[in-house]
């Protein structure tokens, strides 16, 4: 399904989405992030600082509450994600491509009910890029495209005063149908315009991973390369690269205790990151990944090798956040290229 939406009708469309809570990028305190869509949402954002991954996989999630009265069986009260359908507007294609990757992780050998409960009621309305959002974008070199529809339900393409809307999934189709007369039929001239826009977007120069197809094998061969430590030299060991990554999904589970007599509290899942030293710290005090280089290797190898070994695709979608936000400018593209190039 293809249709044309006047930009001035965007908010009417959002309002017409009965039964959906809509979110769109908004600028607050200098930070672009997804917020409940205001009545005058406009999709005029660079990419958001944080990807939309938190909608399906929030940074903090309560599994259940517990209470243990002495001599009694522990009492567990499950906490379920709040029901409700949510639609996220303005998702860039790189972040769209993260969605099926996260889906694979959370439905692989374990079906994560919390993730599934959120994911099944989520829809993503993407926005094609006309030009790279920053100099650090590299989606094309990892198999993506600035106009990719992967993982999205609808893809909007900006045609000046109007959007060309393409329904990618049935959910997307339903979202567009809910807009009713706000959408006009797409004619041949609009089809031509969108084709041209997409071709121009894809033709925009980008930096990139030199040979993504060869990366998994090359990183395997380069596992013991001294380059890892050298490239991690400036690393300060923070979690920016992983917490802002659209596909990083590691987590920790903790019991937050709120009372001792009776013992009670809640079991909570929070994001965790391979970049923190305590991520792999054993209780004996031994840490198998005790250097910055070994932790950089883990992050990069997960994106470009382990994930590929597990699921047959690269995990990195080339959004460039880990590069643009790194306090010392560690560049995953350069890391892959240098290690792979040294083999």
């Amino acid at each position: 399904m293809e249709a044309i939406l006047d930009k001035k009708n965007l908010n009417d469309w959002i309002a017409a989405l009965d039964g959906w809570d809509a979110y769109a990028p908004a600028l607050e305190d200098g930070v672009w992030s997804y917020r409940p869509a205001s009545a005058n949402a406009a999709l005029a954002h660079p990419n958001t600082v944080q990807p939309p991954k938190g909608f399906a996989f929030p940074q903090r999630e309560i599994f259940f509450r517990f209470e243990q009265i002495k001599g009694e069986a522990p009492r567990l009260t499950p906490v379920q994600p709040e029901p409700g359908r949510r639609v996220v507007f303005g998702v860039r294609p790189c972040d769209g491509r993260a969605v099926p990757r996260m889906d694979r992780v959370f439905a692989d050998h374990v079906d994560d009910g919390y993730y599934r409960a959120r994911r099944k009621d989520l829809a993503y309305v993407g926005l094609a890029c006309h030009k790279p959002q920053s100099r650090h974008c590299f989606c094309k070199s990892v198999g993506g495209s600035p106009v990719s529809t992967e993982g999205l339900d609808v893809l909007l393409t900006d045609l000046g005063e109007r959007y060309f809307a393409l329904a990618v999934t049935d959910v997307g189709k339903a979202l567009m149908q809910a807009g009713g007369a706000l959408f006009a039929k797409a004619g041949a001239s609009e089809r031509k315009a969108v084709e041209q826009a997409h071709a121009a977007a894809v033709a925009q120069p980008q930096r990139g991973v030199a040979d993504a197809a060869a990366a998994p094998a090359a990183l395997k061969a380069g596992f013991d390369s001294p380059l890892w430590e050298e490239l991690a030299q400036g690393c300060i060991g923070c979690g920016i690269c992983t917490f802002l990554c659209p596909t990083c999904h590691c987590f920790d589970i903790n019991d937050e205790v709120t009372g001792a007599a009776p013992l009670k509290g809640q079991r909570v899942r929070t994001w965790d990151t391979c970049q923190f030293p305590d991520f792999t710290m054993h209780s004996s005090g031994h840490n198998p990944r005790d250097t910055l280089g070994s932790r950089l290797r883990q992050r990069v190898s997960h994106k470009f090798r382990y994930f590929h070994e597990n699921f047959g695709m690269l995990q990195c979608t080339g959004c460039g956040r880990c590069v643009s936000q790194c306090p010392v400018g560690i560049d995953i593209v350069q890391v892959v290229n240098r290690v792979a190039g040294s083999i």
């Binding site: 992030s33 920053s134 300060i236 060991g237 001792a260 013992l263």
Partner: protein
């Protein structure tokens, strides 16, 4: 202006003569204009060192991290290229016995008349432009892109910390480059004063800070980048608890956790307030925490607030001297008492 050639010569000399075992400085980075920290050990590498308005990093951090490694051995000093603020942090680290004075060779670079730029200000001034390089030129920053050069008055782009710098000329140094001329930008704590004028009442303050703290994603970049945050274990972690086969569930559950890892508002506040208080009398306003924060939390305000209180109420200035007692390990008979019943 700093004569980079002279700095290179100095670095080459001290490496050649073996006066130091390594030099920590900045080199051209791979990410756009940004310089990156580097540790060099051979005289040949001296030429790779750079000095420009993107030399943000407080390199005393590299020294602290080096010190923490199991491979650390005492020996010949390590040299560090240090701006005024970085030299102050080295002073605090020596005051706290992290290093002896003779373990560090300080190559001072004076920011009097320069200072580093603020990437956020740059993004506002030149939206969508990501320069390939930035350079000092008199009282301007020159940002170069493929499309040409932009000359922007330094005042407009300079980081607040530099506009308000207390000692642009590194006091602690073995050698120093650049002049000691006075600067005329903002008085200390100018940004803090602006904030206090804008957010007056308790309710307004809370509204502001609530929004900031709710945004925190607990990536701990502020902690990681801070040379003063060198604790082996932080209050937000609990990695030292020994768990054995006979550790009971109750023991695990009841271990002391001041602040949970959860990125919830209350835990975020607990973390940031604890950090601010731990930095009281130690923070020397390199403002790296604020720079690296991916979600723009104005952490410098918290640290500046306590720095100013320490100065006004206790006459204390962090980083002023190695021989200073710690702020919270000292007192004066006439410390404020008015708030006590």
């Amino acid at each position: 202006m700093i004569d980079l050639g002279a700095l290179h010569t100095q670095v080459r000399d001290i490496l050649e003569t073996g006066e130091v075992r390594a030099v920590v400085g900045w080199r051209r980075g791979s990410r756009g204009m940004l310089a990156e920290p580097v540790t060099i050990a051979t005289p040949e590498e001296a030429e790779t060192l750079v000095w420009d308005p993107t030399c943000f990093h407080n390199l005393s951090l590299t020294l602290v991290e080096e010190r923490k490694k199991p491979s650390w051995r005492p020996g010949k000093p390590i040299a560090v290229v240090a701006k005024g603020c970085d030299a102050r942090s080295l002073t605090v680290l020596m005051q706290e016995n992290c290093f002896r004075r003779d373990e560090v060779y300080v190559i001072g670079v004076s920011c009097a008349g320069s200072g580093v730029l603020d990437e956020r200000k740059l993004a506002q001034r030149l939206p969508g432009v990501e320069p390939d390089s930035a350079a000092f030129d008199g009282d301007a920053f020159v940002c170069a892109t493929a499309g040409g050069e932009d000359r922007i008055p330094a005042r407009e782009l300079m980081a607040d910390r530099c506009l308000e710098c207390r000692d642009a000329h590194p006091k602690l140094n073995n050698v120093v480059f650049g002049e000691a001329q006075p600067r005329a930008f903002d008085p200390p704590f100018a940004a803090l004063a602006r904030f206090e004028q804008e957010q007056v009442g308790v309710a307004e303050r809370w509204q502001f800070w609530q929004r900031q703290f709710e945004r925190c994603i607990r990536c701990f970049a502020c902690r990681s980048v801070c040379p003063m945050c060198y604790c082996e274990e932080c209050v937000v972690d609990s990695i030292n608890m020994a768990v054995g086969a006979d550790t009971t569930a109750a023991e695990k559950a009841n271990r002391i956790r001041w602040i949970e890892r959860s990125a919830s508002r209350a835990d975020n506040i607990g973390y940031h307030m604890t950090r601010a208080l731990h930095l009281a009398g130690r923070c020397i306003d390199c403002a790296e925490c604020e720079r690296v924060c991916p979600v723009n939390i104005p952490l410098r305000l918290l640290n500046n607030k306590l720095e100013r209180e320490a100065r006004v109420a206790f006459g204390y200035e962090p980083g002023a001297s190695i021989d200073l007692p710690a702020l919270v390990a000292s007192f004066r008979d006439d410390d404020p008492n008015h708030f006590i019943r």
